[in-house]
Symmetry: C2
Subunit: 336 residues, 2 copies
């Protein structure tokens, strides 16, 4: 893969096909970490862009534990795959929350117990490897785009606890003027809808976010959205309504992404993809049904333009490795 | 201005600061026409990007009359400003409807009585000047961006009979994968809203499109949206509700554009800008009110990120001139 460093304002990130960032022999491995609320998924990527190792471990909670679990994930990934730390040229981290890409600081990552953390500085100092930090959805969007070999335009719609999208145009993350590109979860599509955590009513996230659905369902269970689908299959009327919300909300997000940014494909990822065909077929059916009355909407063939990421896909961690590999050369300081 | 010809797939169009398309001496004038349902606005732009002439005339209805009114507009613009037809290097046309930019064909321009018209071919043959055709909103978006000196990102939200936006990123029209980038008018924001001409319910266009508002108002009058605002000022409850729809619908379009493409600024143009401060202040107030409950939305400062194009702005015709100036050199055949 060729990684072009971000432009001076850090607004764009491009990836192509061969690693071109010069590194001394032996620094050819790029590590990527997708840091979620419960687990870290780490991959090692070699010079030709192949994933040559993978490791998963639980995420710590709070500043120190987050840094420790990240450095431990890198160390374990290296040890399990016969790689020395000295062979790692960079580590990229995709993490929820607001990320200052330039400084590597993470803000408001509430699910990790982090309010403001110099993640790049601390992790880099601990391991002697340059770190680069990116918002998790944007990193996953880039990873999914490159793994698909996408050369055109793509949105990555993350259906997890919350809902957000990353937009990739011609291999570049579209960050936007103020970092809100792809924040479709907080577009209201129903003035009389449920109250959103953001303060608005009827946001797309209230319809198809795992957190909002669990809250609306209000019954205990480790996998509330799966429980909702099971109960809907069994005829529970509340569950049937919430299932429809899930499918209609995701369909609304797809429509917004196509009618604003007009991406060719919307790839759906995130925790809710564990629902498999019950998610996939439901969203497609909603897109078809909702287009029935509209020749214009039918002409867009939205139901044929979505893809569900396979459960266990390494796209998010792979995308983080791409982010890390884009560290400008001047930032690379060798400690080891 | 530097005009770089579109990339091979015709997907992008870039403009910068000096006209760099080579032309023989005496072919330095670029003409741009904004063709509306009732009138044509034509401008002549010189090599340094200054508007050196302007002419307006009524638009014809049906294929032949549309072609005739366009060629007559070019001829009259030249005659009134002491320009010879031989001094005109290109004509760009912004026109409503579906435009095949590559062939210069216009499809489904229902307000002009055109179903399928080889506009570039016929007008070019009549005058011996190369023509290039673009969708009117996209051309206006480019013109507004260049007139503002925008180097970042901008959306041009056209509030006319219908509602659509053009997105300009770094001086390029974002056309999208299938030409629907910016079609925010047909995003539904209310499942119980009014039926849209497109077949869906609660589309943004049903709230703030001049055609939809006139239909909902249902009373005779040459300027139905102005009538609605007057009646609202006088306390008419139907008019008050429709005025709120207008402001809320435009605010919703602004939110969608920022939360998907995250443009820095939304410039509002189109026929409804004749409403002046009653439109401007109403949209700003709606953006402020609707953000009150949401710290996230407040943090976006949307009310400070909109601009209303001045009535009579030549942005649309100027943008068409930029489109025309991007004719690839190989396409330029000199007849005269």
């Amino acid at each position: 893969m060729t990684f072009t460093a971000p432009s001076p304002d850090g607004a764009e990130l491009r990836s192509q096909h061969t690693i071109a960032v010069d590194e001394p022999a032996g620094r050819a491995i790029r590590v990527g970490l997708d840091v979620g609320g419960t687990k870290i998924d780490a991959v090692a990527v070699d010079r030709s862009g192949d994933i040559v190792g993978r490791h998963r471990r639980p995420t710590g909670w709070g500043d120190d534990a987050v840094v420790d679990s990240i450095t431990q994930a890198v160390a374990a990934l290296a040890a399990e795959n016969g790689l020395s730390l000295a062979s790692i040229g960079s580590v990229g981290v995709g993490i929820p929350g607001v990320v200052d890409v330039e400084t590597g600081r993470v803000l408001h990552a509430v699910n990790l117990g982090v309010e403001s953390l110099d993640l790049a500085g601390r992790a880099s100092a601990a391991l002697g490897i340059p770190f680069r930090i990116e918002n998790d959805v944007k990193a996953a969007a880039l990873g999914a785009a490159v793994l698909r070999g996408a050369t055109g335009s793509m949105a990555y719609l993350n259906l997890g606890t919350g809902v957000a999208a990353g937009i990739v145009l011609d291999g570049r993350i579209r960050r936007g003027a103020r970092g809100t590109a792809g924040e479709v979860g907080h577009i209201s599509v129903d003035p009389n809808g449920r109250l959103c955590g953001c303060g608005q009513r009827g946001c797309i996230e209230t319809l198809c976010g795992g957190g909002a659905l669990a809250k609306a369902w209000g019954r205990p269970g480790a996998l509330p959205v799966a429980d909702i689908l099971d109960a809907a299959d069994a005829g529970d009327p509340t569950a049937i309504a919430l299932r429809a919300d899930l499918h209609h909300g995701a369909a609304a997000a797809v429509r917004v992404l196509v009618l604003s940014a007009d991406v060719e494909t919307v790839v759906i990822g995130g925790g809710l993809t564990a629902l498999g065909a019950r998610l996939d077929e439901g969203i497609r059916a909603a897109l078809r049904t909702e287009a029935e009355a509209s020749p214009f909407m039918r002409s867009l063939h939205l139901d044929e333009r979505i893809e569900i990421l396979a459960t266990g896909s390494p796209a998010a961690a792979f995308g983080a490795a791409l982010v890390g590999a884009a560290v400008p050369e001047k930032e690379i300081v060798f400690h080891g």
